[in-house]
């Protein structure tokens, strides 16, 4: 097995220590950091995402894999920055104002990072202004919003309206998700897309930034 395949396998196994060690070894062998990211860490996380989507594995496995992936990312991040290699896109995510449920949103953040995105996670109970302001300040291409409550999902529409009011619609794209949200709701509030689960959200965001 190549060291890159070993990294991918260690991510799948959720073995934090091994991912850190192998990432350092790969870099020591002169493998480019971007290659370690794409063919090692991201490749492993893609397998994890697929297996989660197919219900072969569950949330604990994904969380352990994510932690292992972060151990590798920590090694790579300064090198990638040095080389001026951009992430494949910046995404601001958060659970909308009035809503405290963030397990689903966290999962989307993990999967986005695993797919190579830079993720700015604003946490839960995030006001529309803060979502939009952060996206502008950070130069994010996409805002991802989550809601579990039927009573808070309307806040998603406020974010979309705020972007429109500031002439940012089309420049900053929106994707919505969460238990009560569906495609029809996304269309009705004018969001650019709907992600039905964490893995699907990654596909959708990739499409929005032209990386699909």
């Amino acid at each position: 097995m190549t060291v890159l395949a070993e990294i991918a396998q260690a991510v799948i196994d959720g073995d934090q220590t091994r991912v850190g060690d192998l990432t350092r070894r790969a870099l020591g062998e002169g493998i480019h950091p971007k290659t370690v990211l794409d063919d090692g860490l991201v490749a492993g996380m893609n397998v994890v995402g697929d297996r989660f989507r197919e219900h072969e594995i569950f949330l604990p496995d994904v969380l352990l894999a994510a932690r292992a992936m972060y151990a590798g990312l920590d090694e790579l991040r300064p090198l990638l920055a040095q080389e001026g290699i951009p992430s494949i896109g910046k995404v601001v995510i958060g659970t909308v104002q009035g809503d405290l449920h963030d397990i689903g949103k966290n999962l989307v953040g993990i999967m986005l990072k695993g797919a190579g995105f830079e993720v700015i996670d604003l946490g839960h109970d995030v006001a529309p202004e803060r979502m939009v302001d952060t996206a502008v300040e950070q130069g994010a291409a996409v805002i991802g919003m989550s809601a579990l409550l039927t009573t808070t999902m309307s806040v998603m529409g406020e974010v979309v309206a705020l972007l429109k009011a500031r002439n940012l619609d089309g420049k900053i794209r929106t994707v919505v998700g969460g238990a009560p949200v569906d495609d029809a709701f996304a269309r009705r509030i004018g969001a650019d897309a709907y992600g039905f689960d964490a893995a699907n959200a990654v596909d959708v965001v990739k499409r929005l930034v032209g990386r699909a």
């Binding site: 009035g98 809503d99 405290l100 039927t150 999902m153 309307s154 569906d182």
Partner: protein, 298 residues
Amino acid sequence: MRPLGERLRTGEVLVADGAIGTMLFQRGLKPGAAPESVTLERPAVLEEIAGLYRDAGADILTTNTFGASPLRLALHGLDGETEAVNREAVRAARRAADGRAYVAGSCGPCGRLLEPYGDVAAAEVLDGFRRQIAALVEAGVDAVIVETMTDLTEATLAVRAARETAADLPVLATMTFDPTPRGFFTVMGVSVAAAAAGLAEAGVTAVGSNCGNGTDQMIAIARAFRAATALPLVIQPNAGLPRTDGGETVYDETPAFMAERAAALLDAGVSVIGGCCGTTPEHIRAIRAAVNGRAPRP
């Protein structure tokens, strides 16, 4: 009334109440506010809702304490009120029960993931459940119902806290499952068989499932539980899965539909039938009639 535990042991079928959260929103609960905040501010609202379910024929009224463990109340800055929130919710349900229904103290997930997957230690979660359940028991619940769990470790901690606090009190425990090609699992990967075994070992009086599924999936879940355990079963389906229609949240299963399917739940050996999200006093009334229309179990 005979003790609830005795009626469960002898195989009697009992009807539990339906949703509380959606009823609270209809009565002005603000989005994002803790449903438990109503308990301290407007306990009469809780009494009214519980009374509607009692009049609909529910044998078991659930307290408005689903999120009343101190860990979860802390998200709303209410953890200092843990004792009062639990006590007053029991009192409201007890007033509504009026000697004609049992009061079950609801205990939901703490809202955080346990180590090693999350950031909270099992000991802290256990302490939280102990504090909540001690308040429920002191206020005089007839049973504790641990609900909507997805992590078996967390569920067993809650059961343990209940068992330690009141060894004689019935403890009902339900988990929330998703259908997968390999059967039903919680999002944390717990199968129905694993849930049945783990909860039985923790000492529950009855096991089962609530939330996350409509009635037809719940029939399949009930059968899976029956294949895995001889314990009495508790099933509380949603009135279908929520969808939005013109900005309104809609649950498609009617009272008549749920009542008609109740027969299959009883055939699967379910002892306690109630409702979760989207169910109303009308659903419970229809289920009550369906249960009454059945011949007693041999």
